[in-house]
């Protein structure tokens, strides 16, 4: 089954109906389960759980929340959980989501710290960690490829989007330039171009 939406499909047909968390407990449990699957990073799992399994967000909403989470200080996935929880159940929802994200993994990290001293020299342990690291990298790439088609519907136009995406990937991934400056420069560029295009669309209406 292809995950890329067919551009000929009307938008409604390609997207199943969205659902919402029923309670703060629901939020806490969902974010705990999500965090516990996140070996080497939670972002790829978050996309899978929130968009594909739970259907609490569509791809566009996920990209939007993630965009905001990335430019704000703090861990992306925590910021994302916090804003998602707040939108549904206010500050208590924000707390429930963030607590879900942190509580169980914190206990596991501490338990691992106790075990680590004994097993860090076993080659199979180092090998397993490396294998999981490779999968973590693949998960992040897959998330990028799944979200990329949302750019086809961007008011900015496809090519400006592709240019900004590739420029930021090159600057951070290949050239290892400091994130703050890249985000500032390309973020302001994207913002200005989007402003220009959206304003033109509004005038046309």
């Amino acid at each position: 089954m292809s995950v890329l939406p067919d551009p000929r499909d009307p938008p409604n047909r390609a997207e199943p109906e969205l659902r919402a968390p029923r309670s703060k407990t629901d939020l806490f449990v969902a974010f705990t389960w999500l965090a516990l699957q996140g070996f080497g990073g939670v972002l790829g799992v978050a996309q899978h759980e929130l968009v594909e399994r739970l259907r609490w967000l569509n791809k566009e909403q996920f990209v939007e929340l993630l965009s905001l989470s990335q430019v704000l200080p703090g861990p992306n996935v925590i910021n994302l959980s916090l804003m998602f929880g707040d939108r549904h159940f206010g500050w208590r929802g924000a707390l429930a989501a963030v607590a879900g994200m942190l509580a169980a993994p914190l206990v596991i990290v501490l338990a691992l710290a106790l075990l680590y001293a004994q097993f860090s020299s076993v080659p199979q342990v180092a090998g397993a960690l490396r294998g999981m690291g490779a999968v973590a990298s693949g998960l992040i790439f897959a998330t990028a490829f799944k979200l990329a088609p949302t750019l086809k519907r961007s008011p900015m136009g496809l090519w400006p989007c592709v240019a900004i995406a590739l420029a930021s990937a090159t600057a951070i991934g290949l050239l290892r330039w400091p994130l703050v400056w890249v985000v500032l420069a390309l973020g302001v560029t994207g913002f200005a171009w989007a402003w220009h295009r959206l304003a033109a669309l509004r005038r046309a209406r």
Binding site: G40, P73, A134, G173
Partner: protein, 184 residues
């Protein structure tokens, strides 16, 4: 019980200083706390000598191996410095300021969602977000280029995730087994 409050030789003002320094870093942590790991190393290991370089690296390695957000390495650093209260100091320090900023900005954004500036922000930052994801995938894959089996796991995971809707846990388990016994 008293072990819970053993500060490993730190005094209370130093514990507050620890929390304060991480609170300062929190505001700067655009792109996640891992971008500030080198600054944390300088502060904890070089400037104060509260832990040594090996303890610092172990905290990062353990947090990477565990499930959950990478930010937990900050808690582990605090634990190595001053036990459970140290963990509380560093985690609260790194979490509270950035979370408060996110909370306020998230609400502002919801309240003004029809404003041109807010929409331009969402639309204009989407391509940057996807570019940053590609960069993260690349940076995580880079240390593995000399291991053929690990490098095969990267595209295998991409295909698995794009072609099926199964849980990523299957690939993570496969990665662990292949890594441990496949000579990766």
């Amino acid at each position: 019980m008293s072990a819970l409050f053993d500060l490993h030789g730190l005094d209370w003002p130093e514990l507050l200083q620890l929390a304060g320094h991480f609170a300062l870093l929190s505001v700067l942590a655009v792109g996640g706390a891992i971008t500030l790991a080198s600054e944390m190393q300088r502060y904890l290991v070089v400037e104060h000598g509260w832990i040594d370089a090996l303890q610092f690296n172990a905290a990062i390695a353990i947090a990477q191996a565990a499930p959950g957000p990478n930010i937990l390495f900050v808690g582990l650093l605090g634990w190595s410095v001053a036990g459970p209260l140290g963990m509380l100091a560093t985690l609260a320090g790194i979490m509270l300021p950035s979370s408060l900023i996110t909370f306020v900005v998230g609400r502002l954004r919801q309240a003004k969602r029809d404003a041109l500036a807010v929409q331009a922000f969402s639309v204009g930052l989407a391509p940057l977000t996807i570019g940053l994801l590609l960069a993260t995938g690349w940076v995580l894959a880079l240390p593995l280029v000399t291991h053929l089996v690990s490098m095969l796991l990267v595209p295998a995971t991409i295909v698995f995730m794009l072609a099926t809707r199964r849980s990523p846990l299957w690939m993570i388990a496969l990665g662990a087994v292949v890594g441990a016994f496949g000579g990766a």
